[in-house]
């Protein structure tokens, strides 16, 4: 009980410290998410049009995903150095998998008869993609987006390991100075951030599902 009290006290005593960390965390995650979304969806779309390399790309991304995040961060230090920029690179590498995979699968899963219909009526490839495939694949893509966002927010907590900002600073500080209340304080905020974001995205996902598929359940 005193432990929890300690954590709460910490929030009150150092609210400006935590506020700064929260803002840093949000900014870092946001930038990473932006890059991931643009790069990931582009690659995802590209490999639906170039099936020959689709397997290769997905295997590579899968492989990266299995590398423990701390290991990846550690390796990146030697290449990209320390700090926020390095952290964003790591977050982007990790976040690509769910987006690429869901974009690829989402587009491929569009009923091939619908695709045949669209082509048979004289759609160009671009029209097929933008007017038919992407809208129908949207629920799947958004589900992947949601996974990616939560994962990025959580992973950003480790980013301070390589000198980046964000709530990880509190977590890491707590670990390296034998200050568990600090660790928990930082972790709780990360979790809170993740939960709030997840819930909001869940609402968005439901709305999109309803519009495209007519039902809120997958």
């Amino acid at each position: 009980m005193t432990f929890i009290k300690g954590v709460i006290n910490l929030y009150f005593d150092r609210y400006d410290f935590f506020l700064k960390l929260i803002l840093e965390h949000i900014l870092l995650s946001f930038i990473a998410i932006l890059f991931i979304t643009v790069i990931g969806i582009t690659i995802g779309i590209y490999i639906t049009r170039n099936r020959s390399i689709a397997n290769l790309v997905i295997s590579v991304v899968n492989f990266i995903y299995t590398i423990p995040s701390i290991a990846l961060f550690g390796v990146l230090i030697t290449i990209t150095g320390i700090g926020n920029k390095s952290a964003i690179v790591a977050l982007v590498i990790y976040g690509l998998l769910p987006i690429i995979r869901n974009t690829y699968v989402g587009i491929n899963e569009v009923d091939e008869l619908i695709v045949e219909s669209a082509i048979g009526m004289g759609s160009t490839d671009r029209q097929l993609l933008l007017k038919v495939q992407l809208p129908i694949a949207l629920p799947v893509i958004i589900a992947g987006f949601r996974t990616m966002v939560i994962m990025t927010i959580a992973l950003c907590g480790i980013a301070s390991f390589i000198g980046a900002g964000g709530l990880g600073v509190a977590i890491w500080r707590g670990i390296s100075t034998n200050f568990p209340e600090m660790t928990v304080a930082g972790s709780l905020l990360v979790a809170l951030l993740a939960i709030i974001t997840d819930l909001s995205l869940g609402v968005l996902e439901k709305k999109v599902r309803k519009k495209i598929l007519g039902s809120e359940v997958s």
Binding site: D111, L113, I114, E116, S117, A118, I119, G120, M121, G122, S123, T124, Q127, K131, V132, P135, I136, K211, I212, L213, G214
Partner: protein, 326 residues
């Protein structure tokens, strides 16, 4: 005027298994062509060769007098209506947007598209209120009508239909067939219609094409296919094996016997009459309803054209069994 022509067309899927071989075909403008044949005969492939979804390996195909390789495939498809069995309506678009899709990809504005959709939805016999609904809210039969409407949006000269009514229940199918005939008579389109249902093929087609193993066995009017089969395959296909089709579709005029003498005409005029355009089946029903041996056949002006009895029917079948092959 010729609108589609196939010259020595061949298509292979594996190197020695031809799906289409030595195919020659001419379709004139304004024809309603039904393509029928056993599974794997190549009828769907032939259809898809017309709008370029499939490319021929050998031979030439002409659409609207232009060789198909000279066509920009996108332009070609936008000028040909295409309806498939599972319809393939876009679930994320309203009925209105579905119908006017071709116009959208041609960059027409929203208002003119909506107008066209309104026009077409009443043409296919559905209420305007459906325009704002989504495909998932429609029944099978309704979806098919929308599919047809969608194919008509760009006012194409040619419409390709691949077993469009196959997935619909019988009652709806009959209604849809009648609707399609009505639309066909109102507009001046050329329709190429693939089906596996003989009755449907005979009922709808002004020209019926029977395919087998990748080539055309015979192409002609329904009467030619039934009464003048070119070989035993055609005969078996349309002949007594498909007796019901024959009875339901062929006009009673074909099998009634002529009456010439005044006395005969007088006798016949006492009998209950049936219009010459009725199907043989109706005649049979009439015979049984009235408990008579024969009934009279009259034309639209109420003049006697002939007499129908079961004897006529037997004679007609006999002719079928021993046709003169041409």
């Amino acid at each position: 005027m010729e609108i589609i022509r196939f010259e020595e067309v061949e298509k292979y899927y594996d190197t020695d298994k031809p799906v289409i071989r030595n195919l020659n075909l001419t379709i004139k403008q304004g024809e309603f062509v039904t393509l029928i044949g056993p599974s794997g005969c190549g009828k769907t492939t032939l259809l898809k060769l017309i709008n370029g979804l499939i490319k021929a390996d050998k031979g030439k195909i002409y659409v609207q007098n232009k060789e198909i390789n000279q066509w920009d495939p996108i332009e070609l498809r936008r000028n040909i209506g295409y309806v498939i069995q599972q319809i393939g309506l876009f679930p994320h678009l309203t009925v209105a947007d579905n119908i006017s899709y071709v116009l959208d990809i041609k960059n027409e504005n929203k208002d003119s598209r909506l107008k066209k959709a309104e026009e077409l939805i009443s043409l296919v016999g559905l209420d305007e209120s459906y325009l704002h609904r989504y495909p998932r809210e429609l029944s099978g039969g309704q979806k098919q009508r929308i599919g047809v409407a969608r194919a008509l949006a760009a006012d194409p000269e040619i419409i390709l239909m691949d077993e469009p009514f196959g997935a619909v229940d019988e009652i709806s199918r009959k209604t849809l067939q009648d609707e399609l005939l009505r639309i066909f008579s109102e507009l001046n389109k050329t329709i190429v219609f693939v089906t596996h249902d003989i009755e449907e093929a005979i009922k709808l087609g002004t020209k019926v094409i029977l395919m087998n193993k990748g080539h055309i066995e015979q192409a002609g009017t329904k009467e030619e296919m039934i009464f003048e089969p070119r070989n035993s395959f055609v005969k078996d296909f349309f002949g007594t094996k498909n007796f019901m089709a024959y009875l339901n579709v062929v006009n009673i005029k074909k099998v009634c016997s002529m009456v010439y003498s005044k006395e005969e005409i007088e006798d016949v005029s006492k009998l209950p009459a049936l219009n010459e355009s009725a199907a043989i089946m109706e005649g049979i029903k009439c015979l049984f309803d009235y408990g008579l041996d024969s009934i009279a056949i009259k034309d639209d002006k109420n003049r006697i054209v002939g007499k129908f009895s079961l004897k006529n029917l037997k004679q007609g079948i006999e002719t079928q069994r021993n046709p003169d092959f041409r």
